[in-house]
């Protein structure tokens, strides 16, 4: 991986730093500086809790270059507690333990290495969430519940109109 490209995204890769829209409150990951809901400028950094749950997943048996030593491994869509859906590897888990809706938590791990002489690339993965001590295991949504962002009727109408066009 190109060093500069990796370095520019260290905040989001190591710490799940995204953005929050000052206009409609939507939490955005990865950061994109423009709110996908209300199309206003959104540059306020927001640190995600790292809690979420498995939305869907698939096992990779034929890995792309750079990931050979990890195969087979599981890639999941993780629904973060604050809303966004992110793609990431699951780690510290056997495939038969995984289910849709499984509570997970973010960890920082080695994503790949550029050969024996190249850079080590670190970033987020997710693993089964630690059960809460003294209580029955709770779902990730309960663990990291944040208030729903205020709904922006204009943006919603726009989104609905766009979906209607695309349909």
């Amino acid at each position: 991986m190109e060093v500069a490209r990796f370095w520019r995204t260290i905040g989001q890769r190591y710490r799940l730093i995204g953005e929050v829209c000052p206009n409609c409150g939507k939490r955005i990951f990865p950061p994109r500086d423009v709110c996908p809901a209300c199309e206003q400028e959104a540059r306020t950094p927001f640190a995600f809790s790292g809690k979420g749950e498995v939305y869907s997943y698939s096992t990779i048996h034929v890995p792309p270059e750079g990931f050979e030593k990890f195969a087979p491994y599981v890639v999941a869509l993780v629904r973060l507690a604050e809303g966004p859906l992110v793609t990431a590897q699951l780690t510290d888990v056997d495939e038969d333990e995984i289910y849709i809706g499984m509570p997970v938590e973010m960890v920082t791990r080695v994503l790949r290495e550029d050969g024996e002489r190249g850079m080590l690339v670190y970033g987020y993965k997710f693993r089964p969430a630690r059960p809460v001590r003294g209580d029955a295991p709770k779902s990730a949504a309960e663990l990291a519940r944040v208030p729903e962002p205020a709904v922006n009727p204009v943006a919603e109408a726009k989104q609905a109109a766009m979906q209607a066009v695309m349909a």
Binding site: Y14, D92, T108, R130
Partner: protein
Amino acid sequence: MKPSRPVGITGYGAYVPRYRLAGQAVSELWTDGNAQPPVREKAVPGLDEDVATMSIEAARNAIARASYADPAFSPAELGAVWVGSESHPYAVKPTSTIVAEAIGATPYTQAADWQFACKAGTEAIQAAIGFVGSGMAAYALAIGMDAAQGRPGDALEYTAGAGGAAFVIGPAERALVEIEGSVSYVTDTPDFWRRQYEKYPEHAGRFTGEPAYFHHIIASVTALLRQMNLSARDFAYAVFHQPNVKFPLKVGEELGFTREQLRPGLLVNDIGNTYAGSSVIGLTAILDIAQPGDRILLASFGSGAGSDAFCLRVRKTVAAKDVWTTQEYVQRRTPIDYAQYSRMKGNYKLN
């Protein structure tokens, strides 16, 4: 030694990877099962783990506890992020900047990697005491962490484990544990080393015992007890560097500590020797159960050689229900066989 203003541990956190290799598996492969394993099993890092990732998780746990103990604390106040290890992922490029970035301590902070075989972690703690105690920083983060190496078939392969601990050092009045005093004792004793560009360490066999491990720990602890005017009976718990089960029990006995004082911090039978993380992760297991007023003795040993001894007193405890305890990591175990272990160690060449 005492700093000019009192300091303590305001937060602590541990990490142990989930995989375990039984000592018996090593014995069966290399000795037909004839060798008696020195530990039951050891912790092995997964394919995506190294000292940087393990340090990040321990540091996050330490920061979480520090935030419970002192709600005003934030990682941006860390004046130093120091990682002690003998298995830093890069030969040149600091582990500590990776950790500092991942916990949000950058950019106005000191960052450095420490190296003193198995006492690199306590060396970082000593430096952090000085840094905070002199007023140069409000808080400093000291980590001892290793993914230890041992030559296949060597005595070290049975015990070379993975794990360690992180400590936020800060003002004593906000701390969970006050650091009442410390002693460092070092000599040039070549009992264990790894030369530049070599993959595995060498050791001087039995020479690692009496003139190295036992001499240095007994010297540092005896000097500390004299300095503090205390005896073994004044401590609720004690934890020593744990290269195997036998050595810490024997040095404890020679210094007058009972097995009951040592048991809560003795993790080596379950996770192996975690080198720079060995004595300090034992301390975290004790802190998980200690009560206010309890005195704890911590004494590391690093080959080459030296020992840092600390006299600690618990001031308060925090519930921190959402933070992993050390025993939770120890009990989260996935057994692996020798072939899987070899794969995780990178012993198979794929292309």
